[in-house]
């Protein structure tokens, strides 16, 4: 390996690492606020990338059907609960948000022929299509069992993951070349901006502080007038945004299939675990490490790339376990 290759690999590693860092942040965020270990995080990456690719190829993205379907399901659940609580006045807003808006979006897609739109608008359209899936999934899968143990929430997260992967295959997403230039700089810069933005959001805004309060003590936060389900929806929205945006960024670098998101998301996890699922900066640093390791591993032992990356978790866990020594009481 000469210096040039080393530098190229380093650049590659940093680009991927930045993406993993973003995902790691989303995972830490979701876990901290809702105690959900959000295995489907990677699906948003794949959905974001594939939606953009479909738009550019002039095809109707499969995520649209997902959005319409999930929207209808959420509307059904919400209307049922509104009828039960005799809050019939809420029904129009529910229908507007979950059914009418997605339908308008569908109409727009039919009318606009997105393949001819400027790239920036295509990116925005992709995000608008994918991001609402986050809070909808929270509403349907996690909100009804928000008080369950971490273990149950994790199993549900895995169930959501396999469902989404299956649906991804069903809507047969295709992959096409996207046309973002100056990828490395863009990826690293966007990650940095998002990380700083998240820092300010959590440290300086009342919404961010409310989310942190919910993370620390759900009951206490509720007594202070913070709605736990609102906090859950917000952080799932944020996680979906981060995921879909990562997908848009990563699409030109890596080939994305309907099930690629899982491995990408898991690499973010390895980073998040370095940070103990609690610390944002350490998680980001861990994710960068994963990216670099992956990149150099693919040079020396490409067949064993995944083995090496996922085996990294063992020394990391060992290190973390040596740092903790208490008997934890499971909920």
């Amino acid at each position: 390996m000469d210096l040039q290759i080393a530098l190229l690999l380093g650049q590659d590693g940093i680009t991927n690492g930045a993406i993993y860092a973003l995902l790691a942040l989303a995972l830490v965020l979701v876990f901290a606020v809702t105690r959900v270990i959000f295995i489907p995080q990677g699906e948003f990456v794949a959905f974001g990338a594939l939606t953009l690719a479909s738009l550019q190829a002039g095809k109707l993205p499969g995520t649209l059907w997902l959005l319409l379907g999930l929207g209808a399901a959420v509307a059904l659940v919400e209307v049922a609960s509104a009828l039960r609580d005799r809050h019939t006045r809420r029904i129009p807003a529910i229908l507007l948000l979950n059914c009418v808006l997605p339908l308008i979006l569908a109409g727009l897609l039919f009318v606009l022929s997105p393949a001819n739109l400027p790239l920036a608008l295509q990116v925005v359209l992709s995000l608008v299509l994918v991001v609402p899936l986050g809070p909808m999934i929270y509403r349907l899968a996690f909100q009804p069992i928000a008080e369950a143990s971490v273990l149950v929430l994790l199993i549900v997260a895995v169930a959501v993951h396999v469902t989404l992967v299956g649906l991804g295959l069903l809507f047969s997403f295709t992959f096409g070349e996207t046309l973002l230039q100056g990828q490395t700089i863009l990826v690293v810069a966007s990650s940095a901006v998002l990380i700083v933005a998240l820092y300010f959001f959590f440290e300086r805004t009342i919404h961010g502080k409310a989310l942190r309060a919910t993370a620390m003590n759900r009951t206490g936060a509720r007594l202070m007038g913070i709605s736990a389900s609102m906090a859950g929806k917000q952080c799932f929205t944020l996680a979906a945004l981060i995921g879909a945006f990562s997908g848009v960024l990563i699409a030109p670098i890596t080939t994305i299939y309907y099930d690629s998101g899982f491995l990408i998301g898991l690499k973010g996890f390895v980073g998040a675990i370095v940070g103990g699922l609690a610390s944002y900066p350490v998680a980001a640093a861990g994710a960068m490490l994963v990216g670099l390791l992956e990149s150099y591993a693919s040079f020396w032992a490409s067949a064993f790339k995944e083995v090496i990356v996922f085996t990294l978790i063992i020394p990391v866990l060992l290190w973390r376990s040596l740092k903790t020594h208490h008997v934890d009481e499971e909920e």
Binding site: V156, V158, A159, G166, I273, A303, L317, S321, V327
Partner: protein, 588 residues
């Protein structure tokens, strides 16, 4: 014979006679159900009972399959040697993974197993001597009693015999001293640790046993198929195994069989049906499984087995108390007046809060020392520091002349200290008797192998007899088999005392034992504590009921704001102006 036993006998007969009438296709399906149920059974032990989980069971199946496949094809070894090698390898990996991940929060194990499942899958697929993604073929058939098991029909009896043996062993294990320790992991780890259970060890035992079940299933699979490749050992299959356990009923041994059956049949059916519906091929059954899982975890978290049980209610016969057995050996109590516990300059800091500030106290054998003080004075913190549940930050705690402040709670319990908790820590679904038997954990020694074989019945009878004896002593004889959670709170506190007594301690720490008791119950409790004191036990008592304390305690220590405010005989304390001010507020 109860109706459920008849049902079981009918089921077994159907299993035995099945191959005589069933078609090859159904035999194959039943073989797979049996193999999957073995893995799911391990998950029942791990997830449903132990409260831990693993998505990497498929990788353990793979270890069992590949170990034997490689040794028999490349080196011509006997399949039985392959089995031993697989089991040894699996145990080694499970012990390593368990040692690393199990000390931390519950979610690190599943995450670790996801990563490990993926690693191993890629390893199988990329290592040349394991055949890469094409796999290994030409694996020899098993020979049993000189008979070569060549067809699925031949294998059928072996698979179901192994499965039923595992079911029996698992049931035996759960109904034992080691089993109670594993059952306590889910929601009672802290209590179990204070009763002397080595909870990390129990977790590793559960994890390793589950891995070994999976390995056994893999070995059978390899010699049934006579061919292995990485696909059936992927993470997706690991997820499916967990789905089987959850759908069937993750806390029930038979739930594993039910879940394996449902998922296997459903998968077969969906794979025939869905691709036609959607007009393309793919693993669409996973959509249905995913949705089914979400639905079950929302609406019937215990799975389908308990729902099935409701259709066949067992007879609630009155059970007699455990049979008399030879009493367990007892500790020789130190002579009255010997100092048991000496706390010197002990402080406990939580961040900026100093909850205990240079506390000193001594408890002697044959005396009752009451620790009183307003709410928030740091009494329970002091208890946790003494018993090792939450060690002190500085200062010393000596028990029977030995420094113990750095020992884990279970080691302190082993030395003869036992305690109750201010917030009752019982396992609500477990019977009162078994809850109390956890207290006697350290008085038994037979390990989980004996438990699985039920060769420890003598010891078990003595433990249960001891537990029942303590319950009778505490006036709870009529509640032996009630679920502990069904008792009123005051009685639950007494169950905690019985549990502490079952450990045969020389020092008893009681945190608000009289709270929630009625007048007569309080009197009975006071009589019991006096008897224990007269037998030579030392008792340290936190209590708010002043009549109870002052009539019972030999000496009283008063705490306020983490510090010792006063110490003396009950009469002196009642007249102490500092104490009066702390309790009633000063006169302005």
């Amino acid at each position: 014979m109860t109706r459920n036993r008849i049902l079981l006998a009918v089921l077994l007969a159907a299993l035995a006679l099945g191959p005589l009438v069933l078609a090859e296709f159904h035999i194959t399906l039943l073989n797979y159900i049996g193999l999957y149920a073995m893995v799911a059974l391990g998950l029942v032990l791990l997830t449903g009972v132990g409260g831990l989980t693993s998505f990497g069971q498929a990788a353990f199946v793979g270890l069992g399959a590949y170990a034997s496949a490689y040794l028999t094809t490349a080196h011509g070894a006997s399949p039985w040697l392959g089995l031993l090698a697989g089991l040894a390898l699996t145990a080694a990996v499970a012990l390593l993974l368990g040692a690393i991940t199990l000390r931390m929060g519950g979610h690190y194990l599943p995450l670790g197993t996801i990563a490990w499942g993926i690693s191993l899958y890629f390893l199988f697929g990329n290592v040349e001597f394991l055949g890469g993604h094409t796999g290994i073929s030409g694996i020899p058939a098993l020979t049993l009693f000189g008979q070569e098991l060549k067809s699925g029909r031949d294998f059928y009896y072996l698979i179901w015999f192994v499965l039923l043996v595992l079911v029996l062993a698992t049931r035996n294990l759960l109904d034992s001293r080691e089993g109670r320790a594993i059952r306590a992991l889910k929601g009672g780890a802290l209590m179990a640790e204070a009763m002397g259970v080595n909870t990390p060890r129990s977790k590793i035992v559960a994890f390793t046993v589950a891995a070994l079940y999976a390995c056994l299933s893999g070995w059978l699979y390899a010699h049934l198929q006579r061919f292995v490749n990485p696909t059936p050992f992927s993470l997706n299959m690991g997820i499916e195994y967990l789905f089987m356990a959850v759908v069937g009923g993750v806390a029930h041994v038979w739930g594993a069989l039910l879940g394996a059956g449902i998922i296997t049949v459903l998968k077969q059916w969906l794979q025939d049906w869905l691709p036609g519906l959607f007009g393309q091929s793919g693993n669409f059954e996973m959509i249905v499984f995913g949705l089914l899982m979400i639905f079950i975890l929302h609406r019937a978290r215990e799975g389908l087995w308990p729902l099935l049980l409701r259709l066949f209610p067992g007879s609630v016969a009155h059970r007699p108390p455990p049979a008399a057995a030879e009493p367990l050996p007892r500790r020789t109590l130190p002579p009255a007046g010997t100092p048991l516990l000496e706390v010197r300059e002990a402080s406990k800091r939580f961040g900026g809060l100093l909850a205990n500030d240079r506390m000193n106290l001594t408890v002697k054998a044959g005396e009752i020392l009451a620790l009183i003080g307003p709410n928030g004075a740091g009494k329970s913190t002091m208890f946790n520091g003494i018993s090792g549940v939450d060690p002190v930050t500085s200062g010393s705690v000596s028990f029977l002349g030995e420094r113990v402040e750095t020992l884990p709670a279970r080691e302190i319990a082993r030395r003869g200290m036992s305690r109750t908790f201010q917030h009752v820590r019982l396992l609500p679904a477990m019977s009162v008797l078994e809850n109390v038997a956890i207290g006697a954990h350290l008085r038994g020694a037979r390990n989980f192998v004996h438990a699985a074989l039920h060769s420890e019945r003598g010891e078990e009878a003595r433990l249960l007899h001891e537990a029942a004896g303590q319950l009778v002593r505490c006036d709870l004889a009529e509640h032996l088999y009630d679920p502990a959670g069904s008792l009123p709170l005051g009685k639950q506190r007494i169950v905690e005392i019985a549990r502490a007594l079952a450990a045969d301690p020389c020092l008893l720490l009681l945190d608000e034992p009289a709270a929630g008791l009625r007048y007569l119950e309080k009197q009975a409790l006071a009589d019991l504590l006096r008897r224990l004191r007269d037998e030579g036990m030392g008792i340290l008592l936190v209590e708010h009921d002043m009549d109870f304390v002052m009539g019972l305690a030999d000496r009283v220590v008063v705490m306020e704001f983490g510090k010792k405010l006063a110490e003396g005989l009950p009469d002196e304390i009642q007249r102490n102006p500092l104490v009066l001010e702390a309790y009633l507020g000063g006169v302005e």
